[in-house]
């Protein structure tokens, strides 16, 4: 995926998570009935949570920061050329 799209995805991810855990979506799965010994609503929240973590993991491996690719830029200094320095000194 191109870099900009990855960044957009990284921006969307927490909002996507928010939609998953907020009503009305979470209401759909609200049930105290058991599925394999676990209440359905609990199962839903933990599954959604795990999915978000996995997505976050995948994204974090692909997102590239400028600090990863380049050395940190040194502050801009304006060193005097040697001959001028001598003249000053």
């Amino acid at each position: 995926m191109p870099r900009q799209k990855l960044r957009d995805a990284a921006f969307i991810l927490p909002f996507f998570g928010l939609i998953l855990i907020m009503p009305p979506f979470v209401d759909i799965f609200f049930s105290v009935r058991l599925l394999g010994g676990i209440p359905v609503i609990l199962l839903y929240i933990f599954c959604a949570w795990t999915a978000l973590i996995i997505l976050g993991w995948v994204l974090s491996r692909r997102l590239v920061t400028d600090t990863d690719t380049a050395e940190p830029r040194p502050p801009i200094l304006h060193p005097l050329p040697p001959e001028q320095r001598d003249a000053d000194g």
Binding site: F11, L13, V26, L42, R73
Partner: protein, 901 residues
């Protein structure tokens, strides 16, 4: 039964282990070993100082009381960390570039290094944190009593007498003070980073997680699986509440998301202690995973507590009492250590964060105002800073202990934590406004913070402290001055809301509104404008940009004196030497230019806070001017860079597309080129064969003087036939090239295509009769009309039919011409039972240049260009010609043409 002595001994042993770990880590990092600051895992674990004893004990309690609600406290931080790329990365970058030492420092720096703001934030942080520290002390005491059986009543007796009459809280407070002073204020580090502390709290993070997981696993297994632990009735009892996902659910999620950014201790570990920005990459998913593990067994433990323990047992202590009820003393002890870890790590980090804030923003400004401590005196400020840090730590712990002693009420742990969360949430508007809104001003931030805090105190803190019959109680039940409209829990008649939701909505709305209004109606001071440009555009500015806008000069000796006093002689000299080298000077004395002064101010700011550093530097600096034009130019340039890079990106996308198209075109051209070569060699070959035979027969005729006339005649016939073939080949090539270049014009008329088929069949009758092939014609049911040239259409069909007849070598050869009208097209199939077209690819069959042509034409009369010409004619009619079937039992060509209406 565990005795108090054993528990104390083990807790002391554990603390000793922490001291050892911190001591060793400190020593390693001092020797230059970087494994602590290099490890994203340790960084992530240290962030989990978020999970205090409020989590360790309180989450189960909250789950037992309020069901699913506890999980919101962990979902909010999960979302914030998943979005690390946008918010946390910016915070960390700003923190590193500007050497930010605390959240108060960040907010004050952004708003023009305002000391007033720093003091406000610091005071608020102290107010919000003290009860929280008290909470940790209380948790340690209570859990100690529970695990050592010091008191049968789990909550009533808080003045623990288990440890020989000494309150465990006091012991813990003293121990933590010692630890924090030793490892948190050992020296003044330019980055405020404490590897020893970080290593210790990362270790504690592991311990508390393991303890919770072990208790959880024990519960699940001792009940023989989840089915027994969680019967549907228990699930109903725990989870079925009215309106679970209502306003409180949303507000708690929001609050916890805010807390992970704004809590001073979280800011300390996430931003200040961050050694590398790239660690966020790991923390972004690993910290949510840590929280998930913490939450995994909370509900099972709550369920076990409700099932196994007698009615009325304190749910806040289930983590301990459940294993104890099953006589698992070692597990209970481990759980106690886990809870102890979560409490101590919070206390340590909170103390460090607060002590930095207090010494930088309250003590230092006072010191700087006192005449006798001014710059040219010889007092060593570094020692003073360290001393004020240590004093602050003692003060904070003392306040916490005091609060703990005074608030003897048996309040649930959870509500105290939430009140603190709501308090620090007041930092959020100023923080986010400062990071993303260029125009936010210090006036706005002050107003917002003030308004938010006042409302927080009035709507949340006051009711929590109020008891019936006191002045506070009176206010809570009847409103300030007896005005019902001002009732703290129903402000302006806003009733029907949960008190927490009510308080958050009021305080944060007022806070944000005041920030916005205050910013809109006030002007930024020059320094503020510079700082806002530096913060909001932190990813786009070139370091050193600000030195363009902020011009000042100073005597190098003054600077040296000042920095030696703050940083210490060694560190200061190192800074001077390094910077001199960067300036290209080898005498070790840097030029005191704007860049150097800015650099030095940041270094000093890392130790005493930006506001104090500015005051100090201003003492020695002369002729400071802040050029507004330069600031505006900086902002403009940033804007231009953004636009330019966007344009560049768009450009490169178009270029990429064009390049791809060119590549395709090139491939096509190369293919055509090979095909053309093939064709030329084939045509030469085809032309050469008749030419050779013509030449040889002509030579024979010329040489042989006395050739019998009938033989000469035969030779001449051959020459004639061959030249006819040559001509027809050349005709075909010409025809095809004319067709393809579009030079041929023919008369187009409306006609019934069936007539073209009939005339084509008629033209082939002679050939069919000669070879004994049966030709059937099955015309379409409905008549169709097309636009085209009858002769040319017949040409196609003649070509198809004659090919079918000529190459049909089956025993009972037949050719069937079957036409039909479907989907707006007239289609005609020319089917035969001949040998088929072999394995030639269909698209090559109709290509004049194709290699397949050679195979088809082999051993056949005719030029072999017929199919290419037919296909071209069909195309020019808007139709197409294709091979629809081909096998050893026969083949079928289909011509399809659009019908006109």
């Amino acid at each position: 039964m565990l005795t108090a002595d054993v528990v104390v001994a083990i807790a002391l042993g554990y603390v000793g282990l922490l001291f050892l770990l911190a001591f060793l880590s400190d020593r390693w990092s001092r020797k230059g070993s970087r494994w602590i600051s290099n490890s994203p895992l340790i960084y992530t674990l240290s962030i989990s100082v978020y999970c205090t004893s409020w989590t360790f004990y309180g989450a189960v309690g909250s789950a037992a009381r309020n069901g699913l609600e506890f999980i919101t406290i962990y979902l909010g931080p999960t979302l914030v960390f998943l979005g690390w790329w946008y918010l946390l990365r910016k915070l960390v970058r700003i923190g590193q570039v500007n050497r930010i030492s605390s959240i108060a420092d960040l907010i004050s720096s952004r708003y023009g290094k305002s000391n007033t703001l720093a003091v406000m934030v610091t005071l608020m942080a102290v107010i919000g944190t003290t009860p929280y520290i008290a909470l940790q002390l209380k948790a340690v005491t209570t859990s100690f009593q529970v695990v050592s059986g010091g008191s049968g009543d789990l909550l009533g007796n808080l003045s623990g007498d288990g440890a020989g009459g000494i309150d465990p809280a006091l012991l813990v407070a003293v121990g933590m003070a010692l630890f924090t002073i030793l490892f948190g204020t050992r020296n003044l580090d330019a980055n405020e980073q404490h590897p020893g502390v970080v290593a210790a709290i990362a270790f504690e993070a592991l311990v508390k997680m393991l303890a919770l997981l072990l208790v959880g696993l024990f519960v699940v297994f001792s009940f023989g699986g989840l089915e027994n632990l969680f019967p549907e009735e228990m699930s109903r009892r725990l989870l079925e509440r009215e309106n679970v996902f209502g306003g409180r659910w949303a507000v708690l999620t929001f609050l916890s998301a805010t807390a992970i950014i704004c809590l001073p201790r979280e800011f300390q570990v996430t931003v200040v202690e961050n050694a590398r920005e790239s660690h966020l990459r790991t923390a972004g998913w690993l910290f949510p995973a840590y929280l998930l593990l913490i939450c995994l067994f909370i509900l099972p433990i709550a369920a076990a507590g409700l099932t196994r323990l007698p009615e009325g047992a304190n749910p806040d202590m289930f983590v301990l009492t459940v294993p104890m009820a099953a006589n698992q003393e070692m597990l209970a002890l481990f759980a106690f250590i886990g809870g102890f870890s979560s409490a101590t790590s919070m206390v340590i980090v909170a103390c460090i964060a607060l002590s930095i804030m207090i010494s930088n923003h309250i003590v230092m400004p006072v010191v700087l105002r006192l005449r006798w401590l001014r710059l040219y005196d010889s007092a060593d400020l570094k020692t003073l800073v360290l001393f004020s840090r240590r004093f602050s730590i003692l003060l904070i712990l003392f306040l916490g202990l005091l609060y703990y002693r005074l608030s003897a009420q048996t309040e649930a742990l959870a509500s105290m934590g939430l009140i603190a969360f709501a308090g620090v949430a007041q930092f959020l508007p100023s923080l986010l406004g400062g990071l993303y809104w260029r125009q936010a001003t210090a006036r706005g931030a002050k107003l917002g913070l003030m308004g938010g805090v006042v409302l927080w105190v009035y709507t949340l803190l006051l009711p929590s402290l109020a008891e019936d019959g006191t002045v506070f109680g009176e206010i809570v039940s009847h409103g300030l001055f007896g005005w019902e409209m001002l009732r703290p829990e129903a402000l302006l008649g806003m009733t029907g809301f949960d008190p927490l939701v009510h308080a958050i909505v009021w305080s944060l709305t007022a806070n944000t509104a005041l920030l916005i209004a205050g910013s809109l109606f006030s002007e930024q001071a020059p320094l503020e404008r510079l700082q806002s440009a530096l913060f909001v555009d932190v990813f786009r500015n070139t370091p050193g940009d600000e030195s363009r806008a902020l011009v000042r000069s100073a005597a190098i000796d003054d600077l040296r004196l000042l920095s030696r006093r703050i940083l210490g002689a060694d560190a200061a000299d190192r800074q001077f030497r390094d910077f001199a080298l960067r300036q290209g000077r080898d005498d070790g004395v840097p030029v005191a230019d704007t860049a150097f002064i800015t650099h030095l101010e940041r270094q000093i700011g890392g130790n005493v806070g930006a506001a104090s550093a500015r005051v100090m530097i201003s003492e020695v600096v002369s002729g400071e001017t802040i050029s507004l034009d330069e600031i505006i130019r900086m902002v403009d340039e940033t804007q231009q860079v953004i636009e330019y890079s966007q344009a560049l990106e768009a450009n490169s996308r178009t270029l990429e597309q064009t390049a791809a198209q060119l590549r395709q075109a090139n491939q096509r051209l190369m293919r055509l080129d090979t095909e053309k070569d093939d064709f030329l060699s084939q045509v030469s070959h085809e032309l050469r064969t008749p030419m050779t035979s013509i030449r040889s027969f002509a030579e024979a005729l010329l040489k042989a003087d006395e050739m019998p006339p009938d033989q000469a005649r035969r030779f001449m016939r051959i020459i004639h036939d061959e030249s006819l073939r040559l001509t027809s080949l050349l005709d075909d090539i010409l025809d095809l090239s004319h067709l393809e270049s579009g030079e041929v014009r023919w008369q187009v008329e409306r006609l019934d295509p069936e007539t073209a088929a009939i005339s084509a069949i008629a033209a082939c009758e002679g050939l069919a009769a000669e070879t004994g092939v049966r030709v059937d014609h099955v015309p379409a049911d409905t008549a169709a009309a097309i636009r085209g040239n009858r002769d040319r259409l017949s040409q196609i069909l003649i070509n198809l039919i004659s090919n079918a007849i000529k190459y049909n070598d089956s025993a009972e050869p037949w050719v069937r011409i079957e036409s039909r009208v479907e989907a707006g097209r007239w289609r005609v199939d020319v089917r035969d039972n001949g040998p088929g077209a072999g394995d030639v690819a269909p698209d090559q069959l109709f290509s004049k240049f194709a290699r397949g042509w050679r195979q088809i034409a082999k051993g056949r009369s005719g030029t072999g260009l017929g199919l290419a010409i037919s296909a071209e004619i069909a195309r020019r009619h808007g139709g197409d010609l294709s091979l629809t079937e081909s096998s050893e039992q026969g083949s079928c060509f289909t011509l399809s043409l659009p019908v006109t209406h």
